[in-house]
């Protein structure tokens, strides 16, 4: 499985930093400097550090992970290699990176197969990785099996230019509001959702507030003659 594989199919520019020789799963952030404000006198301004997610794991994955991946691969058949892009085992948790075209099929198998039986999807958490060029927006689905008492994570990455992920509400009706929330905050469009309206922000709100390029807001506060900048503009450790 190549790590340079275009995950989105949109040909979004693959610019940005591509550092490191490890198997790059997700470039979380490129950290610059040591402090929040630019132009400080510490000499750390020129520091550039790319931060990666833990890389793909090799078999055996340990615990029950191998069995679940085996069953899923068998059920997916010829699509398995294309559907499961990476398998990551980190901190005792299994993450399956899924290509979006196969997300519904994977969800269907996870729910219905008796050896998998992940009855519940605990929602979808959006994450914005602006530095991860071409796959900036991630939808993360924690899946819970009550029968087998297991939990795993599905992760789908798409680009900001084409932020479409198929809705899994048809498989997991419980995800209805969760997908609306992730649309609201991250602008990920869940295709096939019965009613993808904003849920937390007002209907006429512009922008998706939890993206990293959306400012936190806030105003400077004057305290005893000194002006304290708003939290996102403060000089601070990173």
């Amino acid at each position: 499985m190549s790590d340079s594989q275009d995950l989105t199919g949109t040909g979004a520019p693959q610019g940005g930093p591509q550092p490191g020789d490890r198997d790059q799963i997700t470039l979380i952030n490129v950290r610059q400097g040591q402090f929040g404000a630019q132009g400080d006198t510490s000499g750390f301004d020129g520091l550039v550090r790319p931060v990666q997610m833990p890389g793909a794991s090799e078999r055996p994955y340990g615990e029950w992970f191998d069995g679940v991946v085996d069953v899923l691969e068998e059920l997916l058949g010829d699509d398995a290699a294309a559907a499961i892009e990476h398998v990551v085992v980190d901190r005792g948790e299994l993450t399956l990176r899924i290509a979006r075209e196969h997300l519904i099929a994977v969800a269907q198998h996870l729910r219905d197969d008796q050896d998998l039986r992940f009855e519940m999807c605990l929602g979808v958490s959006g994450v914005h990785y602006p530095a991860d060029a071409g796959r900036e927006l991630h939808a993360v689905y924690p899946m819970q099996s009550i029968t087998h008492n297991r939990r795993l994570r599905l992760e789908v990455a798409v680009s900001e230019a084409d932020p479409h992920v198929p809705s899994i509400v048809s498989v997991y009706p419980m995800n209805n509001w969760h997908e609306r929330e992730t649309w609201d905050f991250f602008g990920i469009v869940f295709d096939g959702h019965p009613s993808l309206a904003r849920i937390e922000m007002p209907d006429d709100w512009v922008g998706h507030p939890q993206r990293k390029d959306y400012p936190l807001g806030g105003i400077p506060v004057e305290y005893k003659g000194a002006e304290i900048p708003s939290p996102d503009n403060r000089r601070q450790y990173r």
Binding site: P54, R91, L122, R153, W177, Y237, R238
Partner: protein, 447 residues
């Protein structure tokens, strides 16, 4: 709709075709003419967002025909405060003070799930001292009791039984006295911290816990006596807001609602954390799946939680003087709190140490408090059994001192999706019962 149990809010006549008009003010003949002119037209009513029966600022859009609800939609977002976004701009430790304010009725459950997540990211889950885990369990259970008492109490209040509310709140106040004694605050405690808890239980805490237990038990007994055999209470709750197991599984409903449908799913048993596997307690379940059974379950869970609290008191007594924070000084919060003549503040011993004795200690304190500790890059999911159901958190770290992303799965947010299935086809008055039985807190739903 057929009703098996006698019901307090049903129509006066059994004839389903009989027209029914309610009005406040105005001339009756004009109202009747107007109603006749409109015929069977459906009426849409907005309940909330400032309605006293909606547990905060929930807007419920009801489409009604007479007294029957034909469609229900819930509108949320009125209490969205951007807590998850704000957490991205604060250190990992400061995150506790934010997440504790989401579901403000179950503050410490959220602190616990968040700290368990941070510890998993740090890889120090097994390093948390035993005494800290006992204190965490104690706090989580006191929080559970408080949350269930609010659920039962406000539920009673919304049906017009003020005594149920006052009794429940008196008992909750008793749990708050212990919580305040140990953490310094009644709610929004920021007591559970990554690596342990903020401070050790003060002298006399075990005694206070033991004195609290019979008081709360007595109030619980009162609530049981007051409600469970009461014909009006049964009339309002039995057979109302039904949700069977299939419905729960389709909508991802957890907590007392799921257990009232017959599935004994409780993360304290299925995925024990903080040493729950070593405590002796039961998970009450029912198969009725109605509002009445959920009140019974919440009260039974309070009794079970009191059993755990009693066991915590024994363990606190046995572990007197043991640490309540991880030994790693690079993570452990440097200061301890103490109560002085002018109230609670930093311990004077600690101030003397950093200001008068050790410059290195001062530097360490300053670095850890202002900069915080770095958390290795990666993502985790941690889940606990909150009072209202499965409470989960997804945390992503970019290797820095602040969360890259913190996303909470509030059980109320998920469970509120079931409002439609709980209310459609029932009476308007039962919507209030259904909202109370979901027991969401809008602060947690909207975050």
């Amino acid at each position: 709709m057929t009703q098996t149990a006698p019901h307090a809010t049903g129509a006066f006549t059994d004839d389903p075709d009989a027209p029914e008009y309610s009005a406040y003010g105005g001339d009756w003949s004009e109202i009747a003419d107007e109603a006749a002119r409109l015929g069977q037209q459906r009426i849409v009513v907005n309940m909330g967002p400032q309605h006293p029966s909606t547990h905060g600022v929930l807007r419920v859009m009801l489409e009604i025909e007479g007294e029957t609800v034909t469609e229900t939609r819930a509108g949320i977002g009125y209490l969205h405060t951007g807590i998850e976004k704000n957490m991205e701009y604060r250190t990992w430790t400061q995150g506790v003070t934010f997440c504790t304010r989401m579901d403000y009725v179950a503050s410490m459950s959220q602190e616990l799930v968040y700290c368990l997540g941070v510890e998993k990211l740090l890889g120090i889950t097994d390093d948390v001292p035993e005494r800290a885990n006992v204190l965490r369990v104690l706090m989580a259970e006191l929080t559970r009791i408080g949350s269930h008492l609010v659920a039962v109490g406000t539920g009673g209040n919304e049906m017009g039984a003020t005594t149920v509310m006052t009794t429940a709140f008196i008992a909750r106040e008793d749990t708050f006295r212990v919580i305040e004694m140990i953490s310094g605050l009644r709610t929004n405690n920021a007591y559970i911290r990554p690596g342990g808890v903020a401070q050790d239980a003060p002298e006399g805490a075990v005694k206070a816990i033991r004195e609290m237990i019979p008081k709360v038990k007595q109030k619980l007994d009162e609530l049981v006596d007051l409600q469970l055999a009461n014909p009006i209470f049964k009339g309002r709750l039995k057979g109302v807001a039904n949700l069977d197991l299939a419905g729960c599984m389709a909508l991802g409903v957890t907590g007392p609602i799921l257990r009232s449908a017959g599935l004994p799913y409780d993360l304290r048993k299925s995925e024990p954390y903080c040493g729950y596997e070593t405590y002796d307690f039961q998970v009450p379940t029912s198969t009725d799946g109605d509002a009445y059974s959920r009140v019974v379950l919440r009260l039974e869970e309070c009794y079970e939680s009191l059993k755990i609290v009693a066991q915590c008191a024994d363990r606190l007594e046995a572990s007197e003087g043991e640490p309540v924070m991880v030994a790693d000084k690079k993570i452990a919060w440097p200061a301890q709190l103490s109560v002085g003549s002018d109230g609670q503040g930093n311990s004077l011993d600690h101030i003397r140490h950093i200001m008068g004795e050790s410059m290195e200690a001062l530097i360490h304190h300053f670095k850890l408090v202002t900069e915080g500790f770095k958390v290795p890059a990666g993502q985790v999911y941690s889940a606990i059994e909150g009072p209202k159901g499965l409470l989960g958190v997804h945390l992503v770290s970019d290797g820095g001192t602040k969360p890259w992303r913190a996303h909470f799965r509030d059980p109320g947010f998920n469970n509120l999706q079931a409002l439609g299935i709980l209310t459609e086809g029932g009476q308007v008055a039962d919507v209030v019962v259904a909202i109370a039985t979901i027991d969401m807190v809008l602060g947690g739903v909207d975050r």
